[in-house]
């Protein structure tokens, strides 16, 4: 059992919670990745609503596959097709869906705090599938799984999270989760992309990628959210690539056993060069695979585990 009823942020998770999620995900690995029939009856008869108020492809599809593999009944609805765009309030939307008696909401939202607000309007369990610039806890769990698979542990690892930190819910969840597991996290970004208070995450923050690169076990490149760059914070893609992009030259200076992660979708040639994205250190597709496993684990554990 996890110590939380909902999965809203990683800040609320204990090291034991995270270990349970990663271990349970690992137990799903042979089912999903080795068997012909990639399905267990764990959530048979349970109803899950994927409420995606902001467009998403990979997160939504990852959740949908995880739900199918757990035998849950699930439906997905998006902001563009729902009454949300017609001006219905969040509370009304949730109460309407809730009246159909669902067990779980998976929520993706443009606005921070939306999943938390939803818990106030339903008895169902809520999983945060990314809220505004706040958190994206299920992304953090798949990242931790991927990193642990490679190193066998998380404590003591040195991890750099590089890129558009100020707009990044990925960083918002990953940095605290890594700290909880004993990793050492450095935030790297141009000053215009830095977080307001890195001490909240217990991290150092720098604008010198080249100073820290050679010391890192994991280099985690964030997507530059071109669509969220309200007010140009960098002058050009080209200059960003030169100063902060993970080039082959930079990749060559990394520790022998170090790995590269990216939450996707990538801007090849901007934060990461095409050859680097496909190199031997890259764990980007492993992350995608781990997404289904860890989301299965989260839904399974939140729904009561063995029950």
């Amino acid at each position: 059992m996890l110590s939380v009823r909902h999965l809203i942020d990683t800040t609320s998770l204990t090291a034991d919670d995270i270990t349970q999620i990663l271990d349970t995900a690992k137990s799903f690995d042979p089912i999903v990745n080795a068997r012909t029939i990639k399905k267990v009856p764990a959530l048979r008869g349970r109803t899950i609503v994927n409420l995606f108020l902001e467009p998403s492809t990979r997160t939504l599809k990852s959740f949908e596959l995880a739900e199918k593999r757990l035998s849950a009944d699930s439906i997905s609805m998006g902001g563009a097709t729902s009454s949300v765009v017609k001006g219905e309030s969040l509370a009304d939307t949730i109460q309407t869906i809730d009246a159909m008696n669902v067990d779980m909401f998976v929520v993706r939202a443009r606005l921070a705090g939306t999943p938390q607000k939803i818990t106030e309007n339903t008895d169902a369990i809520v999983i945060n599938g990314g809220d505004g610039k706040h958190q994206h806890p299920t992304q953090a769990m798949l990242d931790l799984y991927t990193i642990r698979e490679h190193f066998g542990h998380l404590d003591g690892l040195k991890v750099a999270i590089v890129g558009d930190l100020a707009h990044s819910r990925v960083c918002g969840s990953l940095a605290p989760a890594l700290k909880t597991m004993g990793a050492d996290v450095t935030l790297v970004a141009p000053p215009t992309f830095q977080v307001g208070d890195p001490s909240w995450f217990g991290c150092n923050q720098t604008n010198h990628l080249d100073d820290v690169l050679e010391d890192m076990d994991v280099v985690y490149m964030l997507r530059v959210q071109l669509e969220r760059m309200e007010g140009a914070a960098i002058p050009s893609r080209r200059e960003y690539n030169r100063l902060y992009g993970l080039s082959l030259e930079r990749e060559a200076r990394m520790k022998p056993n170090a790995i590269i992660c990216h939450p996707g979708p990538m801007n090849r040639g901007m934060e990461i060069d095409a050859e680097v994205a496909d190199c031997a250190r890259s764990r980007i597709l492993n992350q995608v695979n781990a997404g289904v496993l860890t989301r299965m684990a989260e839904m399974y554990l939140l729904m009561g585990g063995e029950d």
Partner: protein, 307 residues
């Protein structure tokens, strides 16, 4: 109070002279700062020919755009755009210099930061005609009070600041450097607050809690004298608005508030006689309330009930 600029757009002078002759007691575009320094200079120069004060909501909008919470830890923790203290302080500084250059009386609305207060103190020490006010929510709440429940009753403009700002403001109202206690009363319908933080309306109601808060936190513990309370809540605001002082004498008009300093209240939605319940202080237990109010000789509040 009259608008300072036409339509409060900050672009051209309102008909200030007309309004003075029809009884306007002060001028403000409250809710917005006048963004152009040149326009503000024109406004203050024009007002300086009348015995009237300009009340300034200080906010450099190019710095606070999208800001919904204090910059720094709170913005990082909750994943939202920050409204930085210097977005307020820069305009306080600008308007003080414009007061110096035009001679126009300047009143800084709802001051929220320690540095802003220092600027006002320095102006006063120089003998400039500068005054300021503070709200109960900036005196008794800070951004630490905003938890991951995203309670939108704590969303206001300017935002709740750091604990050290709050403490400096309390010192300021005690030592006389802040002239007035005002509520910045902002009533909202339930649906305007019962939503995601980033799209919720700014503001809290304050009318029915301001006196109990001052009594509970400052007067009854002996930090503030009763006469200082009357100064900041009655005498100074009237002087600022060019209203005649209230006198307790035979033949004078009765404008009185009767206070029961021992009566205890629980701030619940049921406590409020206002239609709006969006109080930042819901859940607090306070001591000391107004029981009766006489306005122009008429009883408008009788034993705690609006007449």
């Amino acid at each position: 109070m009259g608008a300072l600029t036409r339509g409060e757009k900050g672009e051209s002078l309102a008909e200030i002279g007309d309004m003075v002759m029809e009884g306007a007691c002060a001028f403000s575009d409250d809710g917005h700062g006048v963004q152009s320094a040149g326009m503000m200079k024109t406004c203050m120069a024009y007002v300086s020919q009348f015995d009237r004060v300009v009340c300034a909501h200080c906010e450099v909008e190019s710095l606070t755009k999208n800001g919904v919470i204090n910059s720094g830890r709170a913005a990082t923790r909750l994943g939202m755009f920050g409204w930085p203290p210097f977005g307020e302080e820069l305009e306080i500084y600008r308007d003080i210099e414009l007061s110096r250059s035009t001679g126009c009386a300047l009143h800084i609305c709802h001051i929220s930061t320690e540095k802003g207060l220092e600027l006002v103190k320095a102006a006063k020490a120089e003998g400039l005609p500068v005054t300021c006010e503070v709200t109960p929510h900036h005196l008794f709440l800070c951004d630490d009070d905003i938890t991951d429940t995203y309670d939108t009753n704590l969303k206001m403009n300017p935002p709740l600041r750091k604990r050290s700002d709050m403490e400096a403001l309390v010192q300021g109202i005690l030592d006389g450097s802040i002239d007035c206690l005002v509520t910045d009363h902002a009533p909202h319908a339930k649906h305007e607050k019962d939503c995601e933080w980033e799209i919720a309306f700014f503001g809290t109601i304050g009318l029915e809690t301001s006196l109990p808060l001052m009594l509970t936190n400052l007067v009854l513990p002996g930090k503030m004298s009763w006469s200082r309370l009357v100064e900041v809540m009655c005498v100074n605001p009237r002087r600022l608005l060019r209203c005649k002082p209230v006198t307790l004498a035979a033949g004078s008009q009765a404008d009185l508030t009767l206070i029961d300093p021992a009566r205890e209240i629980d701030v619940t939605e049921g406590y409020f006689q206002s239609k709006s319940k969006n109080s930042a202080f819901l859940g607090q237990h306070l001591t000391g309330v107004a029981t009766d109010v006489l306005m122009a000789g008429k009883r408008t509040l009788a034993d705690g009930v609006v007449a």
